[in-house]
């Protein structure tokens, strides 16, 4: 059952000539699923989150969250979502506990229920010992944890996370990713935006790739990789005789395609384990020596490159 249904969502800033940040984006998120929006900076990911948070009014289309329209039932939508913004949105001169209590009140909690929930969140984000310290004294990772904790206070049905791991150390990133997986295991639905391919690949049940405000592909990691329609990519360099070697490698069993790109040969194969020894044998037979060889399994980077002609990191 879909808990988020996005239909032809459009958002243009300062119409009619402003930037079209979302251009008819549609996707669904099933209950209990982690859905990642993957795309380069400026692709429209944050605008999508802002629109689905009822922070921005869409220029066209609609989205329903837990059955409520973001256009007509903003208040009801806000009741069921938790939003973790990309930048730390906390009060630095207040302690972690004071921040959680304040935001809890904004989510409608009060009294003992609020105090108990704040205690639970402090345990969840492992900041019980530092709860009375001002947030401005925290490390980046600790601030990120409080930032996420705030969005969990009211037990939302859907959690939006807008690039929550930007600019933090690997240990904190690992901790956050593990926490997100744990939330999914508890049944929470998560909409996650990132421009880190590895994060999307590791976390997501399904992924939507966005570029220039358009959804260019959606599916599981495996489904998306199939979009590329090719196997592993092997790049090889030899000490001499590259063009001749390329001709010989085309004859090797299992090699589907060989291209020359500057000073290296790019080969496509379905099974690199089987093909690699044959490539070395062929080189030895031709009197050449392989000086560098790399194998790249099909990934989202390749999917993005395949679909847009550009690298994801551009």
């Amino acid at each position: 059952m879909n808990i988020v249904e996005v239909q032809e969502l459009r958002k243009q800033y300062d119409p009619p000539k402003g930037v079209l940040a979302l251009d008819g984006v549609s996707f669904d998120i099933a209950e209990g699923e982690i859905f990642s929006l993957l795309g380069p900076n400026g692709a429209g990911k944050s605008t999508a989150i802002s629109t689905l948070s009822c922070l921005l009014r869409p220029s066209g289309g609609d989205a329903r969250v837990a059955g409520h329209s973001v256009v007509r039932e903003a208040q009801a939508v806000k009741e069921v979502i938790g939003v973790v913004p990309q930048d730390i949105a906390l009060y630095p001169d207040m302690s972690a506990r004071e921040n959680l209590v304040f935001w809890g009140r904004m989510y409608g909690l009060s009294g003992d229920a609020l105090g108990k929930r704040v205690d639970e969140i402090l345990e969840l984000i492992t900041l019980v010992d530092r709860q009375k310290d001002r947030v401005e004294k925290f490390s980046g990772g600790m601030k990120r944890r409080v930032n996420i904790g705030v969005a969990l206070l009211h037990r939302p049905k859907v959690l939006y996370l807008d690039e929550p791991t930007v600019g933090i150390d690997p240990q904190s990133r690992r901790s956050i990713l593990d926490g997100i997986l744990a939330l999914r295991d508890q049944g929470m639905t998560i909409l996650y935006t990132t421009h880190y391919m590895a994060e999307a690949q590791e976390l997501s049940d399904r992924i939507g790739i966005v570029d220039h405000g358009k959804m260019i592909a959606t599916g599981t990691h495996e489904e998306l990789v199939k979009v590329v329609g090719e196997g592993a990519r092997v790049t090889a360099r030899v000490d001499h005789y590259l063009e001749g070697m390329a001709e010989r490698w085309r004859e090797v069993k299992g090699v589907e395609k060989v291209d020359l790109e500057e000073d290296e040969a790019v080969l496509l194969t379905e099974d690199p384990n089987e093909v690699l020894p044959r490539l070395f044998e062929a080189a030895a037979a031709a009197g050449a020596r392989i000086t560098e060889i790399n194998v790249t399994e099909p990934n989202l980077e390749m999917v993005f490159l395949h679909l847009t002609g550009r690298a994801l990191r551009e």
Binding site: Q75, P85, D93, W103, M106, S110
Partner: protein, 413 residues
């Protein structure tokens, strides 16, 4: 309501932790009021412009030479020797002279009573009369000059009266030689002059219409009221600017993603601004009372004026915020707006009611009305005396808040 209080409390706590803001809101107006109060009260090395004096010579008497004693006093005030110090204008009666001071056209009114010549030249040594000096309380130096000149004239009249009285007393005992008469007159002049003469100065300041028991306003009180209203604008701006700070920090957009309506969020912000400047005013009022002994007036009027002033300051601060994009912009534009309002409204000239063009222009500003309200209240006026000084600024406050909410809603919707 809980959410509004939570937002207001958060902002209040943040302001309380901001030492520079507190210094600006509380110490600056007190320090300025103290400095200006002492400066006005004690004179100093400033060049003083000629004091405008209105004279109303009501003296009915005449001497054998045809000139009344009142005309002599008026003549001294208007003499060419004092032209650089006093600028005298003659008024037809006492009310016209007082009105000139009330309207701010003149600093002092010198009102010479109808029986002045009769007392000065009369045969009764026990007869008494009083020249009235009606002064603008913030023009202490000018008032002191006028008082000195009039006092000197009265002293000379008193001496002459005493001498004449002494001589008459000797004549009644016989026909003493001229030398004895002269000596006695001189002794009476030097020893009794001014003490038994019965010529006196009555000093008064403007009063509420129809209320002859109205109190005087202290210079420091008048200045502190002006400074208080002025710095309430800055205090409100300081708190209201947190809207822009929060927008930049991302906490305001995050607030908008919670199930909290725009109205509640703005209401919380307005409440925090309103409560902060109200507290600021209360602290300044109490400090003014304790440090300078200022009598602010009746509690009901003081409370209402304080609340309306806080409303105006809050509404204006939110309007400035709604028209600007960044905290720096709000600071610069806000400071300009508040300074112009203070100059036009009269915050730097105390609470004294002014007349002429300035008095008219002053009424286009909320602070001008508020200052008139404070002036009336400090003179003992109550709610009935300041209803317009409450209603007009309240209208300003509502208009400011209405436009601010419209702008802010449009911006964040």
């Amino acid at each position: 309501m809980t959410k509004i209080l939570a937002i207001a409390w958060k902002d209040l706590r943040s302001t309380a932790r901001n030492a520079p803001a507190l210094a600006m809101m509380l110490l600056a107006p007190l320090a300025l009021a103290a400095l200006l109060g002492f400066a006005f009260g004690g004179g100093g090395g400033f060049d003083i412009a000629a004091t405008k004096v209105a004279t109303a010579n009501m003296d009915q008497g005449r001497t054998a030479a045809g000139e009344s004693a009142g005309a002599v006093v008026a003549g001294i005030l208007g003499s060419p020797d004092l032209k650089g110090v006093l600028e005298v204008s003659k008024k037809s009666d006492a009310d016209a002279a007082r009105a000139a001071v009330d309207d701010g056209k003149d600093a002092v009114a010198v009102i010479i009573p109808a029986d002045f010549s009769e007392v000065v030249y009369g045969s009764s040594p026990l007869a008494k009369t009083r020249v009235e000096l009606y002064e603008n309380p913030t023009q202490e130096i000018g008032g002191a000059i006028a008082e000195s000149v009039v006092g000197q004239a009265l002293l000379e009249f008193s001496g002459a009266r005493a001498a004449a009285a002494g001589a008459l007393a000797l004549r009644s005992q016989g026909d003493p030689p001229a030398a004895v008469l002269a000596k006695t007159a001189a002794q009476q002049f030097t020893h009794a002059g001014g003490v038994t003469a019965g010529l006196d100065i009555s000093q008064r300041t403007p009063q509420l219409p129809g209320d002859q028991n109205a109190k005087d306003v202290s210079v420091t009180g008048a200045i502190l009221a002006g400074m208080m209203v002025f710095f309430m604008f800055f205090g409100a701006a300081n708190v209201a600017r947190t809207i822009l700070d929060e927008d930049r920090a991302g906490t305001l957009p995050r607030l908008f993603t919670t199930p909290t309506s725009y109205g509640v969020i703005l209401g919380g912000k307005f409440a925090s601004v309103f409560v902060t400047v109200t507290l600021q005013a209360v602290i300044l009022l109490v400090a003014g009372r304790l440090i300078f002994g200022i009598d602010w007036g009746r509690l009901d009027a003081v409370v209402l004026l304080t609340l309306v002033a806080a409303g105006v300051a809050s509404g204006l601060a939110l309007l400035v915020i709604s028209l600007t994009r960044t905290p720096a912009q709000a600071g610069a534009i806000g400071a300009g707006v508040y300074l112009v309002l203070a100059l036009v409204g009269g915050n730097f000239t105390g609470t004294a009611q002014t007349g002429g063009t300035f008095g008219i222009v002053q009424k286009f500003t909320p602070n001008g009305w508020l200052l008139q309200g404070w002036d009336t209240t400090m003179r003992g006026g109550g709610f009935g005396d300041i209803r317009w000084q409450l209603l007009v600024p309240l209208g300003f406050a509502v208009a400011f808040f209405f436009f601010a909410v419209l702008r802010i809603r449009r911006r964040f919707a």
